[in-house]
Symmetry: C2
Subunit: 147 residues, 2 copies
DNA sequence: CTTGATGTAACCATTTTGGTTACATTGGTG
DNA sequence: CACCAATGTAACCAAAATGGTTACATCAAG
């Protein structure tokens, strides 16, 4: 215990992958391979494929198999928000309830669940609202501006 | 991999502990012990003490040692927001960057870090803003209302 | 039919999370 | 003063999450 800075990097990697595909296609290529993306993101191709598989189920990308296989965007970068990406890869909530149910005989133990759930719902809504404000086009613009 | 619903329950347990102490004191008791709180939250007293230790460092609670030892609020429930609790126990960010630095030769690999950091900063601000809206007095009111 | 890449399962090392034991320390009380 | 209940922490552990890696069946264009 004691160390923090947990959190996972999936949203970052997924945004990286999609942005990379978008830029690659914009430069005239049909599809991008998980190997190319993995090289840019400095991770393993399987990690990329796992994320893209989820993004594919969410309708954000399409894949082509066989020879000349690879990935392509299903929508323009401007039509994909970070919320879309987040929802595609992170079904779980940010905050968890008690690991084991609290004492139902205790007033606090009995009522804290619903009370915190209500708050967490609002927090998640705020988080989603904020993620929805940024599209991958915005991210790419930021990237190109800084280059 | 694959399962989700990660997230930790620390904020929930910490809010539970503080609310419990507040109600207990309101009923005329001087201090609450980690054992009592642990019984209500259905966890181990050491887990409670670990959290309260951090909350103590943040100035939200005080502890008394020796005989008649225990914990008491350093401020009224109405003067403690969930943001105060969150900051006391969760220094780390919600989203992480690449585990290994991306390819600096690649435009995306080079610029994605600052771009995502900017977004994440806004998201965290929104999350904190939402947590700041609720005080533990609000939580307790909710609990008592439902009882 | 060959080939290059997807789609997934499987396995593993590392880290996080939280539960548990253990124990030194504290300070009021009998 | 000795007792004792509870804090404050270290240490250890089991379970789960996170990502990296190998392996391989499948697919489809050439």
């Amino acid at each position: 215990m004691e160390s923090d800075v947990s959190a996972n990097s999936r949203l970052t990697i997924a945004a990286h992958a999609l942005t990379w595909i978008g830029l690659y296609q914009r430069r005239g290529h049909e599809v991008a391979t998980s190997e190319q993306i993995a090289a840019s993101a400095n991770t393993n191709p399987v990690v990329i494929r796992r994320l893209l598989a989820k993004l594919s189920k969410a309708g954000l990308v399409d894949s082509r198999r066989g020879a000349g296989a690879g990935w392509m965007l299903a929508r323009d970068l401007a039509a994909i928000t970070l919320l879309d990406v987040y929802q595609a890869i992170e079904p779980g909530p940010v905050f968890a309830m008690h690991r084991a149910a609290p004492d139902p005989e205790c007033v606090v133990g009995h009522g804290i669940g619903p009370a915190m759930t209500a708050v967490y719902d609002d927090v998640e809504a705020a988080l989603r609202g904020e993620l929805a404000k940024t599209t991958l086009e915005d991210v790419l613009r930021d990237i190109l501006k800084a280059a």
